[in-house]
C-alpha cells in the first residue's frame, strides 16, 4: 500500500483551472447601475419649468398668481436636484391655483 495515500489519491486529480475569460464573462452579468435622470434631462426640465414660471409671472394674471409663479422660479431652479418630484410638485400647485382661479 502507498506510504502517503492522501497525496497519491489527490495526485490523480488534476487541479481545476478557471476559464481564461472568467472576468470578462462575469462583467457582462453585472447588474446595471441604477439609471437616474440624465444631467441633460434635468437641465432641460428645469429650464422649461423656469420659462413657464416666468411667462406666468409676466402674463396678465391676478397678482397673487403672478407672485406665486415668481416664487416658483427659484423652486424650479431647485428642480435640478430632484427634477421629477419637483416638477410633479410644481405642476400640482399650478393645477390647484388654476382650478381656484377658474371657480371665481
Amino acid at each position: 500500500m502507498s506510504r502517503d495515500p492522501i497525496r497519491e489519491t489527490l495526485a490523480g486529480r488534476r487541479p481545476p483551472r478557471l476559464s481564461p475569460h472568467f472576468a470578462s464573462r462575469l462583467l457582462r452579468t453585472l447588474p446595471e447601475p441604477s439609471r437616474g435622470v440624465s444631467a441633460s434631462t434635468k437641465a432641460l426640465s428645469s429650464a422649461a419649468l423656469l420659462a413657464v414660471s416666468l411667462l406666468l409671472a409676466l402674463a396678465d394674471w391676478p397678482s397673487w398668481l403672478s407672485a406665486t409663479a415668481i416664487l416658483m422660479s427659484p423652486l424650479a431652479a431647485l428642480a435640478l436636484l430632484a427634477p421629477a418630484r419637483m416638477a410633479a410638485g410644481i405642476a400640482a400647485v399650478f393645477v390647484v391655483l388654476l382650478r381656484e382661479e377658474g371657480r371665481k
Binding site: M1, T9, G12
Partner: protein, 186 residues
C-alpha cells in the same frame, strides 16, 4: 504575504461601483477565490467551482456599499467565498452523498488489473475519509495536496496563522490515517 489591493482603489470602488475597477479587483483575486471555493467543494465537484466563484463576485459587487472597511477587503471576500462554497457543498451532499464511486474511476499508473483494483479501493476509501473530515480540515488538505497551495497562501485564504494551518494539516492527516488503519487500508 500581502496581496491586498490598494486601499484607495477599494474605497473608490465601494463609493462608485465602477465596473472597470471591479474588473481589476476580479482579476486580482479570481484565482485565489477559485482555489478556496474548489478546495471546499473538493475534487469530486470541481465543475461547480467556477459557477460558485462567479456567484461570490456578484454577491460582493451587490453588497459593495455595505463594506465599511472595518476589516481588510480580502478578509471579507474570502469569508463570503468560504460561506458560499460551504452552502453549495451542503447542496451537493444532498444530491450526491457518495463521492467514492467517482474516485474509483480515477486510477492512474496501475500496472495490472489486481493492482488497479487495489488502488481503486484504497482511493475510494481515502476519498471517503477526506470527505468525512470537518470542513476546515478538509479544505486545508485539498488546498495543500490537491491544489498545491503554499502554506502562506492557505493561511491567507482561511485567515489563520501559518502555524495553525500546519497544525490543521497534521491533524487532518492523522484523522485520515487513523480511519484508514481502522478499516485495514494502511
Amino acid at each position: 504575504m500581502t496581496v491586498d489591493l490598494d486601499r484607495e482603489l477599494i474605497a473608490t470602488l465601494v463609493r462608485t461601483s465602477d465596473a472597470e475597477l471591479f474588473r481589476q479587483l476580479v482579476e486580482h483575486y479570481q484565482d485565489r477565490v477559485f482555489r478556496l471555493v474548489a478546495s471546499v467543494l473538493g475534487p469530486y465537484s470541481e465543475a461547480d467551482a467556477e459557477e460558485v466563484t462567479q456567484e461570490v463576485f456578484l454577491r460582493v459587487y451587490r453588497q459593495l456599499k455595505g463594506f465599511r472597511g472595518d476589516s481588510k477587503f480580502s478578509t471579507w471576500l474570502y469569508r463570503v467565498a468560504y460561506r458560499r462554497a460551504l452552502d453549495r457543498k451542503q447542496l451537493a451532499r444532498h444530491r450526491l452523498p457518495h463521492a467514492s464511486d467517482e474516485a474509483l474511476v480515477n486510477v492512474a499508473g496501475a500496472d495490472n488489473p489486481f493492482e488497479q483494483a487495489a488502488r481503486a479501493q484504497q482511493g475510494a476509501r481515502v476519498a471517503a475519509c477526506m470527505e468525512a473530515l470537518p470542513d476546515l480540515y478538509r479544505t486545508v488538505l485539498y488546498l495543500r495536496y490537491w491544489l498545491d497551495c503554499p502554506v502562506e497562501e492557505i493561511a491567507e485564504l482561511i485567515q489563520a496563522p501559518a502555524g495553525t494551518v500546519k497544525s490543521y494539516l497534521a491533524r487532518a492527516r492523522q484523522r485520515v490515517e487513523r480511519e484508514l488503519e481502522k478499516s485495514g487500508h494502511v
